[in-house]
Amino acid sequence: MTFIARHRRLLTLACSAILRHRTRHVSILLVYTALVFLFASVVFCVEALKREARLLLQGAPEIVVQRLVAGRHEPIPAELVEPLRRIPGVQRAAGRLWGYHFDEERRVNFTLIASEDPRLAPRAVAVGRGVARLLGAEAGGRIALRGRGGEEVSFAVAEVFPSASELVAADLIEMPQEDLRAFFGIPEGLYTDITLRVANENERRVVASKVRGLVPDGRVILREEIARTYEELFDWRGGVLLAVFASLAASFLLLAWSQAAGLEEEEKREIGLLKAVGWELSEVLALKTWEAITVSLTAFLLGTALAYLHVFAAGAFLFASLMKGWSVLYPRFALDPALDLPQVTLIVSVAVVPFLLASVIPSWRAAATEPDRLLRQA
């Protein structure tokens, strides 16, 4: 009998054994599927968010220069822009003007940012979808923000950013620089920070060290650091969730082990009979491995498919607030599936392999026992 034909028969035998003990296997399958579902949901969510951050932050400036006073972020003088632009390797240096506006009435923070967009007339703004939803604004309408003197400042809404941009712009209000200066009371000659464009990747660290020389009271943030921040942030959140699930997984493995270790009498009789009629230890072990593989692969496929639907079709409703974030002004965005082979391999290695070991080792110990002893025990 060929290798494949032998294992096909073993698989058929394994399936019929599973059906004979269907109550036990179905209960294990349900709990196992639920665990794979939770684990795969976290992996899918974390990876999708990390990839989204990686792709979108490609457009971020290569270097951001902030000024610190007493350890706090303070406006940076505009006269530093020109010396920074003259550093070899810097393509562009520009002052960036932005800040936060806390809306007392709605208890929400907006991010106000100045732009040189010629399409924005004085006292006109472009707003993110989250702002538009919260203030009931639409293009062509008006919004009012309470200025620093307590007076209402009205702006015409020229544009609402597309909904696809909510992940980066839900809370943004873009306005002409003069309006932002007047709104926050920031005098000419000061910016919030300075951004540098450095196309050559190899020059960025050198440029950063030169910036530190020019702005000794400043802080230099590289785009790689921003990207790393987000990698760590999502890993951290995934870790928080997985720490919770780890106790569930440990309980399940304990259950699987104790179920397999305390083999039912009928199963012991089966193993004893198989050995009595001449089955080798390796063949009994192969049969039990096929049983465990059938259960674990079914749970893996069901759990992974359910997790995929949960995260990418149902918006990960079970733990979206934990993974994505939450606040009064919450961005609405659908996660773009980031499913690839490394993720599948991770799920298999974490979810399938321990179960296989927890199931097969007790069977191996039983199969190593003399058949007459097994039959007497049964």
Binding site: Q58, G59, E225, Y308, D336
Partner: protein, 81 residues
């Protein structure tokens, strides 16, 4: 089933390309640096630009008042002295 999921994910990713490039243009134009996930507090809205102590800046020995701080690990750049 697994192959179908992989293919579906690749197809959706490709389909989302246009919307993403539009967002990427906005990021480039306004030079944005952070994702809008926790807009509740400055250090959670812009974690990559936050000060070392911004979560605790209200007064000496102040605790982080933003609930999102629990879920937001400090960037490694801020953990090193």
């Amino acid at each position: 089933m697994l192959l179908a999921l992989l293919l579906h994910a690749a197809w959706l990713h490709r389909a989302a390309g246009h919307a993403r490039s539009e967002t990427l243009r906005l990021v480039e134009r306004l030079e944005l640096t952070d994702l809008c996930l926790f807009p509740g507090a400055p250090h959670t809205r812009h974690p990559s630009l936050a000060d070392r102590h911004s979560a605790f800046h209200h007064h000496p020995t102040a605790l982080d008042l933003a609930p999102a701080g629990l879920l937001l690990g400090p960037p490694s750049r801020l953990r090193t002295p």
